[in-house]
Amino acid sequence: MSMKTFIEQYGFMILLSPLLGSAITGLAGRRIQKKYGARPIGLIACGSVLVSFIIALAAFAAVAGAREGEKTIICIVFNWLSVGDLRADVSFLFDPLSSVMILIVTGIGFLIHAYSTEYMKGDSGYYRYFSYLNLFIFSMLLLVLGENLLLMFIGWEGVGLCSYLLISFWFSEKANAIAGNKAFIVNRVGDFGFILGILALYSLLKDKIFGGGLVVPVAPSLLSFRFLAENVHLINNIDIFGVSAATVICLCLFVGATGKSAQIPLYVWLPDAMAGPTPVSALIHAATMVTAGIYMIGRLNFLFSMSGTSLNVIATIGAATALFAATVGCVQNDIKKVLAYSTVSQLGYMFLGMGVTAYSSGIFHLVTHAFFKACLFLCAGSIILGMHHEQDIRWMGGLKRYMPKTFLTFMIATLAISGVPPFSGFFSKDEILWQAWKTGHQGLWLVGFMTTGMTSFYMTRLVMVTFYGENRLHLRPSTDDRHDHDDHHRDGVKESPSSVTMPLVILAFFSGVAGFIGVPAALGGGNHFEHFLMPVFGHHAVAHHDPMEYVLMFASVAASLGGIGAGVFLYRIRPELPDIIVSKIKMVHRIVYNKYFVDEIYAFLFVSGTMLMTRVFASFDRYVIDLFVDLTAHVLRFKSYISGAIDRVIVDGLVNGVAESFLFSGSQLRKIQTGRIQAYVMVLLFLVVLGVSLVVILKGEV
């Protein structure tokens, strides 16, 4: 059996394996954990992802090994929906784009599973954690491999569910539970856009294809990506409310992307999502799930390319988010918060790349970012372990000495994200910036350029404050209970065990070298990555050498080195300076430190607004509509008293007698006012009599 037929027939195993893992650890995990301890659970969870990773390798090999023009492998499992003209199969699409993605998802996923076996040791919810994590791998693979938009949407919401479950994993802390809610609900706002996009796309295409009374023996799967790629041009000349249909659809879908991938205006959930366990932040909230929006645009690039307006919006939002989040990242004190804002910022770069139609550059940055950001988060996790659950960088310092492996890997990843050549981030980020310039978006290039400097500045700040200087753990004010409890650990900062550091080393290695898969032609490389993705994104015009490319490259390297220099100067050489600067620009600092008060504004506008609406509606229900009903009730009750005399004669004998003797002790029946039952039976009798007499009298006369 060739690799290709294997994937065609058994490709779905890649999803089944983590799903089974999740089911076992979820449904039987509590019992297993009680009886045999945590070890078998870790083995099942890691094993299931390892199986997926091996299949992903096979799929990648199959796709890479296929001849030109045959690089798409479909694995059809069963027909899922077939209603009217709607047809959707459960089928999976392996092509260059998705095969790269599944390698990232399962590869980094496996490393993080392995890391978690140590990180979560001793947690009573160990089985629950791994069940969610496996479910996440399944959902993410569904999102990536799903061959139609509906299937993608299932994965899309599935990863949202896992994100919710894992953010609120330590739910006995109310704040964590609320952070989970926030993530899910904000994502639902985005999904609203996503759904509208799907609805519009479906209804327009259906109209075009079946509108002419065309009868086809088997309805095509309208929302399948292959079908869309070939037929989406049909909606080219349609307008919705005076705007081109493609623009409307793309913008709707992009709203979904801003939710999942944390862009303005829906990024607010991601910083709060840091409430989850750190490996989760690495896997879901940095490396994989949050890139779903970028992936979606890449998957539907043929659609987005139809709407220049929407591409401009995407590029602008991306660049704006990149800069905005970077400014916030410069002043945060929680190590995970800094990394979270950094993620938001880097995702902005990717959108900038997608928006200037440099799809493969956007995906390239997605890949390198997955490595270095996962590495950074896992390092942060290692630090947090070493620091006994302290996340505030103000109480760290000097960790270089205690945690050499963590330090080294963190440094490599920092250089990568800062865009220092030849680390991976340099190649991918520079590619995006160059493409932005080349396509005439000089303004956006400038924003990206500024962000580069800021990125290296805040990362350097993090390194300096965390790893250099003296350890300040003893300076920490111990106010709340948790801190008091940890007091006796204060001197015990030490390096994490190897199951934690091994993944760090592997990820750091890739953070260092992953850039070489996409060395641009200008630097004498072949840009294999772009070439590999060509079947999906089409051919770009052959790049002729442009001296400008070298100028810009030099500029961005200078910016990142400048940022590093500024960071070293402010936080190592003259550490008293930052406080002085802050005191000079107190107001600005306060605004930026508080994240521009966006959360507070949203809370006022949307949360209070909704709560007010619920109050209004519920009151209307209670006091307006019911008033009418209650009045009628009073009238009726009054009437039943009047007719009471007649009732007692007829109905007492008829109903009460029978009912009492058979059913209830008499007192029970009397508890519910006899008058009303009588009224009911009376009316029934009346109705029947009325009906029958009407029929008899009027029969034949109408």
Binding site: I195, A618, Y680
Partner: protein, 499 residues
């Protein structure tokens, strides 16, 4: 065997009422005997319904020609008035019969702890099942009305006698609404009878010869209001929260799980087939009401402090999808709407059962009165999360498919309205998650540190529903395939009216 096969529908319908007479004959103090026999009596129709399901031909359909209706039983009943005993199922009633047969035994189990007036309770319950089954399978208008009334009377007693503290208020409210609905439906039935020639109560005949009816708009509205009260459609919905709050658990399950579907079933069975032209005209009106239900119900649900009331309002919201879907006259929308009837029946049954479980233990239903109980009752929490996520339309669970179909269908006709309806998903997610968080997450309320997890009996009621929720979400064909031909038929009926 031959007899069973040819009388499946009457057996399913009448076994409960026949059984109820046995229950009456048992001595009052043998409570367990009564419970067990009630369980057996409701399991027989479930088994027969599965036979029905297996024998149901999924490829044919049609209403005004009898060919599409299956398992027909037709006997002359009252010759003078041309009333027939006429039963049959098609793709519209089949899922409802299945749902009803499934929910009833579960409700018997959920009623196990009824201690007061056991005999009367189970007698009325079995009578209720006959009424519901009969109303779904009757094809003679008069027979339909009788079952309709038979179903309402026990309901009234069950709420009024076994209900909560404000049961009298709830029962009379239910009574008034029901009464109004019944009267106007009856009047239209009689009018149709008189207008038809020769006079008949045969629904298929009436549908075929509907051109004879005059005053079509009045009739349409009368029927619509009569059924809208049952759905319930805004502004006829306020009986529902009260009835639910006061009704015992099992009766809430029946009410939301099956009785509400009677309303949409009636609209589809009668308004659609007998007044298709008016239905086509009033499509937008119905769609608007559907959207109001979705949003209004969701916002009201969010405000509630009583868990049961919250679930009750969520029912109003979810039934809005049914109305929106069937008002779209697209294959996607109609299939989605009917599938939503089934799915909502399952999900809401689960939710009300879950409310009952916690109420039995804590003796209150204040959402804010709990907190952090997830680690104390892991099995209960798992099922509750499953049910609430199904309610908020999580992809992979059954409600998602029906709601997505409704939106896909409705968007083709009503873009703005459907977009508004889709915001309901955000509000629904918000109140579902908020509720889960307040009850299960956060700091443990020490009063409930020793809360017992679900018992075996409760598990037996909840797990089958949970399995259905998941299975139909992944593989919807078992239910969706039942209705397709009937839906195309109904749809064509209306679409041709528009031309």
């Amino acid at each position: 065997m031959e007899f069973i096969n040819s009388h499946l529908l009457s057996l399913i319908t009448f076994i409960p009422v026949i059984g109820s007479l046995f229950v009456l004959a048992f001595p009052r103090d043998k409570a367990n005997l009564i419970r067990w026999s009630a369980l057996v009596i409701t399991i027989i129709p479930l088994l027969l319904a599965l036979v029905l399901y297996a024998g149901f031909d999924r490829s044919t359909a049609g209403f005004s020609h009898t060919a599409g209706i299956q398992f027909i039983e037709k006997y002359t009943w009252i010759r003078d008035f041309n009333m027939n005993f006429f039963m049959g199922v098609d793709g519209l009633s089949m899922p409802m019969v299945l749902l009803c047969a499934l929910i009833c035994p579960i409700c018997i189990l959920a009623s196990w702890n009824v201690e007061r007036g056991v005999k009367g309770y189970f007698f009325l319950f079995l009578l209720l099942e006959t009424g519901m089954m009969g109303a779904f399978v009757a094809l003679d208008f008069f027979l339909f009305f009788i079952f309709w009334e038979v179903m309402l009377l026990p309901m009234y007693f069950l709420i009024g006698i076994w209900g909560g503290p404000r049961r009298e208020y709830a029962a009379i409210k239910f009574f008034i609404y029901t009464l109004v609905g019944s009267v106007i439906i009856l009047l239209v039935i009689i009018y149709f009878y008189l207008a038809s020639a020769p006079h008949t109560f045969d629904m298929t005949e009436l549908a075929k010869n509907n051109a004879l009816f005059g005053n079509r708009m009045i009739c349409w509205f009368a029927l619509f209001i009569g059924f809208a009260i049952k759905v319930p459609i805004f502004p006829f919905h306020t009986w529902l929260p009260d009835a639910h709050v006061e009704a015992p658990t099992a009766i809430s399950v029946i009410l939301a799980g099956i009785l509400l579907k009677m309303g949409t079933y009636g609209i589809l069975r009668i308004n659609y087939t007998m007044l298709p032209d008016m239905t086509a005209k009033m499509a937008t009106f119905m769609a608007v009401l559907g959207v109001i239900n979705i949003i209004y119900g969701a916002l009201c649900a969010m405000f509630q402090k009583d868990l049961k009331k919250l679930v009750a309002y969520s029912s109003i919201s979810h039934m809005g999808y049914v109305i929106l879907g069937i008002a779209s006259f697209t294959d996607e929308g109609l299939n989605g709407g009917i599938f939503q009837m089934f799915n909502h029946g399952v999900v809401t049954a689960m939710l009300f059962l879950l409310v009952g479980v916690i109420y039995d233990r804590a003796h209150h239903r204040e959402i804010d009165g709990f907190g952090g109980i997830a680690p104390i009752v892991p099995n209960y929490s798992f099922l509750a999360f499953l049910a609430f996520f199904a309610a908020l339309g999580l992809p992979g669970l059954n409600s998602f498919i029906s709601e997505a179909l409704v939106l896909l269908g409705a968007f083709q006709k009503y873009r703005i309205l459907t977009a508004v309806a889709a915001t309901g998903a955000i509000i629904t997610a918000a109140y579902c998650l908020w509720t889960l968080q307040r009850i299960f997450l956060g700091k443990l309320n020490e009063n409930y540190a020793l809360l017992p997890d679900i018992t075996m009996t409760e598990a037996v009621t909840l797990i089958p529903l949970g399995v259905i929720v998941v299975t139909l979400g992944i593989y919807p064909h078992p239910v969706l395939d039942l209705m397709k031909p009937t839906v195309s038929f109904l749809n064509n009926l209306i679409i041709h009216m528009k031309l």
